[in-house]
Amino acid sequence: MPWYDLHVEIQKKEEALEMAKRLNYSGIAIVNKKDDEVVDGIELISSALIEANNKEELKAKLQSVRSKVTLVLVSGGKYEVNRSACEDSRVDVLCHPYLGRADPGIDHICARAARENNVALEINFSTILNSPNRPKTLSQIRKMVEICEKYEAPIVITSGAKNPWEMRAARDLAALAATLGVDIAYAIRSLSVYAKNLIEVNRQKLQGSRVGDALIVREGDEGGG
């Protein structure tokens, strides 16, 4: 099964690659990487992590980055940023919306918007592992999952690793998500098939062979109506 980790923050590419190979990943997205490439059979996906303090900053950064990378991640935490990221279809993943808060960071309005704009909400393993108050973080994530299930917002599970020893095998991350209330079958699919699909659709959009989520413009058909 192809496994993907959509959020890795390791600076040294070689270390990340070695560990990803050991853990049977077929693709990882290292943040702030400019171009797609395949090294030793592992896909390195170009992605950008946007950090913004308010709505205007987020929109400006999105505008400049969207046409350049395959995956756009937004670092969440502030409600204003979480909400405007959920309401913008250019965003792919909203990372850790619960970080540095006492509540899950999203509400029913965000979740509904995320469902409409296809923004995935992230369960970040690194924030759980490094949390000073782990029970609090776990309960925030559990509430977030409950809201997402109710409004059918997509969930992704990532490692968010800052060094190679924070990475974990994809199936183990799925098991952790399952104990936090995500359906186990959904967790496994979101780490493999859905992630792969997301990357493929985004690549097609960047190449211009796909408009929106449903319509595929076939080669040779353009101009013919």
Binding site: M19, R22, L23, F125, L129, W165, M167, R168, A169, R171, D172, L173, A175, L176, A178, T179, I184
Partner: protein, 130 residues
């Protein structure tokens, strides 16, 4: 009379599974350090109450020093809990580690055959190398 309860009927026995794991690390560590680390993290993550309902047992004579592979027994409905507790292990002794679950089996025999590289002379079926 033997000082031991009779073997329970099959429907009353616990249903068990064997989780085969591999420890990824740079340096070496002893079995005692591994065992302590697994118990410490499991108790911290699941609590005494949660751990008591999981039926955890580390099987000592299946720990392979060379390949760093081992087996944990647990009840069949608690596999995801144990797996997620194992992801929380960061250090064994002074070594940074990752505990990587290779698979889950129903018997010790198939755990040995599939993941620990044991062979049986009376087994003529297909087997996986490694």
């Amino acid at each position: 009379m033997e000082d031991k309860p009779k073997l329970l009927p099959p429907s009353m026995r616990e249903r068990e599974r064997y989780i085969v794991f591999e420890v990824i690390s740079k340096g070496d560590f002893s079995y005692d350090e591994l065992s302590r680390s697994i118990w410490f993290t499991t108790l911290a993550f699941l609590g005494e109450l949660g751990a008591s309902s999981c039926g955890i047992k580390l099987i000592r004579n299946l720990w392979d020093e060379r390949t760093k592979r081992g087996v944990i027994r647990c009840f069949h409905n608690k596999i995801e809990e144990i797996r997620s507790a194992l992801t929380m292990i960061r250090k064994i002794g002074n070594e940074d580690v990752i505990v990587h679950v290779l698979g889950v089996t129903g018997t010790i025999k198939s755990a040995k055959r599939k993941f620990l590289g044991h062979y049986y002379l009376n087994d003529f079926g297909e087997r996986d190398e490694g």
